[in-house]
Symmetry: C2
């Protein structure tokens, strides 16, 4: 999905393409990562590998690590999660087999790969990496606030988990389809696996939060766009620090507000009402202009997945009027509303 | 300085009192930590220990680890820094001697104590801790935004390094001297050493930043004050994420703005003008009311150390008038201005 990274300082960088590891899981719900990668990054997936005969499948070709390596695969991605995010002992021999076949191993689980001695030994023996996408790279610098060249777009939200990653990926795709130079800049583990690179912003030590966002979207050509995946919300009492460091460090020229019209309360905490879209626009401009005085709102990405089509269309039109003509679209539905949002971001 | 901590979940907790370690340093400028502790926390320091005869001195009694242990010392604090923050091999035998004498070892240097095998062995042999005050405790929870009982005061700033720690300590001392129940809540390594406890906020992973501040100032009696040391500035493009997480998590009832009238630019970065005091008040209220709708500004702490007394008095009066009667004091000078600031915080 990305052009070759310009320097290793841009964050984590995975070796692609992938073989998706399905472990010994029988329930598809535990294989969210594998299904997400097969859907969102089919070009990065050469196949899948299950330890079971007749287990779950993403529909990708079944192959062993050795066969995948011969087809060009460079990493085995753990596509399944156990409750608790542990790596069961029953998987270790399979992961060692992948390393011995010349693949790196990539994990987004809680327990670090490096805590398992057999994997550390096999990685060293084969000169291959164990990559935990929850672990930021070393030596992230403190942010400087220096204005960088190139254009940047950031998705922000009225809350967590309502479409910031999806919106950024859809906007990136729209820019590329219009012939523009653009990179999707992932800031969470799923986005990092989908794009093969990025910075796990929520795992960065606070002192280096804006510096990490600066590293993620370096100087670029003046007509190049970095489309940066947002995190959290300035109005979420748990995660606003992550959102502010990302805002200051990514110094967006344009931001898009992501919102779910059915959500009334901030999730995960008690007693916090969702902010209005106008409040998010106002506070994002006020805080964002510290590092980019020209920051502006490109429009609103409305997650209308809970609504029927006609209802969704009516709501988007009504919201657009209420917001004085600001473009309102749903990237999942596309169409004229979303194209107007893209136009507005580029204006 | 603090009442006994109510639970280990309140952050780092050092074992006091201390023996101050001066290493083999000959220049006083490298012993800032030792001099700071001798000045600010004389009650916590039983003595000093230099590896040199006739080296530098803080004026405290000279003693060996064994003698200090007999006088009640429970930790050896590394009071000196080498350029680069390393622990030279020439100190290791001395630190092992302290562990063998029954002291814990406390360090604020960059290189972790646990990276030195001889120290790890000696600590294990003696059942003593190696405490790096830059390293946050494990298992910090995500912030919840839940309103806690008790009162909280936070020092904020127009920038870093202009008196937030000093102001918080002076306000804490003033509250205690008025017979109120109060704890100083340290958020940086020097403050943690001075008070014997605290949370190194800048070293906490961003996702847990507000949660760490919640842990630092737990539920308390309704007439109890936590006086929380501020960090960074909402207007500093490097560190605003730290400041926002601390603001949201400490949910202050009252904040005091710390300012150095001679500073015109944010330090450490290029091209960022210092915000005005009014801008800091306004933005702190706007962001702070997310977790405490009753947040208010108690006044301004002006660092007038660069001015002569008459000049400082004139400036504080002029600033108070300009800010429509808001109390303006300098805790280093005390006097009526500072007492009015304390009154206003308690009002």
């Amino acid at each position: 999905m990305n052009a070759p990274l310009r320097s290793v300082s841009e964050g984590l960088r995975l070796s692609t393409p992938y073989l998706l590891f399905l472990g010994d899981i029988e329930q598809p719900s535990y294989a969210k990562t594998a299904f997400g990668l097969a859907d969102w990054a089919p070009d990065l997936c050469v196949g899948e590998w299950s330890m079971l005969d007749g287990g779950i499948t993403t529909g990708l070709p079944k192959m062993t690590p050795e066969q995948a390596r011969a087809k060009g695969a460079r990493s085995l991605v753990i596509g399944v999660a156990n409750p608790g995010g542990v790596i069961p002992q029953s998987w270790v021999a399979a992961l060692v087999e992948a390393l011995d076949a010349g693949l790196e191993v990539v994990s987004g689980l809680h327990r670090p790969l490096s805590s398992i001695p057999e994997l550390v030994d096999a990685a060293a023996r084969n000169g291959k990496r164990l990559v935990d996408v929850r672990v930021p790279p070393e030596n992230i610098p403190v942010g400087t606030g220096r204005k960088r060249t190139g254009k940047r777009l950031l998705t922000v939200g009225t809350d967590c988990a309502l479409g910031k990653k999806y919106t950024a990926m859809a906007l990136h795709r729209a820019l590329v389809s219009r012939g523009l130079k653009a990179d999707f800049r992932a800031t969470g583990q799923t986005g990092i696996m989908i794009s093969g690179a990025g910075m796990p912003m929520d795992a960065v030590v606070s002192d280096f939060e804006s510096g990490a966002a600066e590293v993620l979207s370096p100087d670029a050509a003046s007509d190049h766009w970095d489309v940066v995946e947002g995190q959290g919300s300035l109005f979420n009492p748990s995660f606003a620090a992550v959102s502010l460091g990302l805002l200051h460090g990514s110094q967006p020229d344009v931001f898009v507000v992501c919102h779910d019209p059915t959500r009334k309360q901030i999730i995960g905490v008690d007693g916090f009402a969702l902010p209005t879209i106008e409040e998010v626009i106002d506070l994002t401009i006020r805080l964002g202009k510290l590092t980019n005085p020209a920051i502006r709102c490109g429009g609103v990405s409305l997650n209308t997945s809970a609504l029927r089509e006609a209802e969704a269309a009516r709501l988007m039109e009504a919201e657009g009027e209420r917001l004085h003509g600001l473009p309102v679209g749903d990237p999942m539905r596309g169409g004229r509303g979303f194209e107007r949002l893209v136009d507005s971001c580029l204006a």
